[in-house]
Symmetry: C2
Subunit: 183 residues, 2 copies
């Protein structure tokens, strides 16, 4: 268990901006808070990823209040934070070196959004040889339009992305299952 | 156009094995053949990615006939081939260095499968700063089961993954649109 870090991706206030559209999994933040509490109690590693967008109008730009972490996922002073500018938490950061130098070979991944930053980071983590557990109800996404104008709901996007990731890049588990495993 | 390579991912005979289940987009291989023909005529860069699985039972293992390229995507002697063992064509290969040292800043991505190796490679290419065009009808995937046992069809998986990738990591275009652009 000492080798397993909780990786909390982009749980930032800017994702409450209406520009993103409708979201699924409203319990994501409270589930992340439960997992953070368990990890802190067990004194296990916690790593926070903060998206510092370079897009002119993104609510996640460093100059904007949306760049701040949400209250439920506020890092403690002793918890590591990596900032990134693209989807993958492994690109343009020292995350991989940090994990290897700290003997962390296993990640429990939570955060926003399922099909963008969470999926990309999960894929790279798996391909780099880390054991990854992705927490199905501690991640969420937004409704999206296809390139042909078809509308897809956040919930169907979420479920299909979990199906594509499971058993190829990670294992998918619920918050309850992860909490039980670490009890 | 000289800066744009056609990146052909895992178009190998092993994907015809029944173990993968039902597939969508049966015209994928003929569309890839059309794109290869156009790139060769225009003397543009073509890069082939070959998956050399390390899974004991994968039809894509180097020792198995399924490791071979399909006839429609057989590399010519002057075309670059990178072999890989994970989903991303950028992990464990010299692909990124090759692209940068050859002044290639733009990729047209085709191949198998949409939500595994094609998606992972497209995501990393976009995050590494390459301009990516993903060809919607020159990629395909298979039916999958979710972690909760729900069945998803290849076609719905395919369409939702394109929606998640479009305008975030790449632009999605059809074979006809790409051929017209390069005419």
């Amino acid at each position: 268990m000492k080798n397993t870090a909780l990786l909390v991706i982009d749980v930032q206030k800017g994702f409450d901006d209406p520009c993103w559209g409708k979201r699924n999994n409203p319990d994501t933040e409270s589930n992340i808070a439960l997992l953070l509490s368990k990890w802190r109690k067990k004194e296990l590693s916690i790593i926070h990823i903060q998206h510092c967008s370079v897009e002119p109008n993104s609510p996640l730009r460093p100059a904007f209040p949306g760049n701040e972490f949400k209250d439920e996922a506020l890092p403690l002073i002793n918890e590591k934070i990596f900032t990134k500018t693209v989807n993958s938490a492994f690109i343009g950061t020292e995350l991989e070196d940090y994990l290897r130098s700290h003997g962390i070979n296993s990640l429990v991944v939570v955060g926003l959004t399922t099909d963008h930053c969470v999926s990309t980071t999960t894929r790279m983590a798996g391909n780099l040889g880390f054991k990854v557990t992705l927490v199905s109800d501690a991640t969420a996404t937004f409704d999206r339009l296809g390139h042909d104008g078809t509308e897809y709901s956040a919930n169907e996007i979420h479920k299909i992305h979990l199906a594509s990731l499971n058993e190829e890049f990670c294992v998918v588990r619920s918050t309850t299952e992860v909490l039980r495993e670490f009890a």
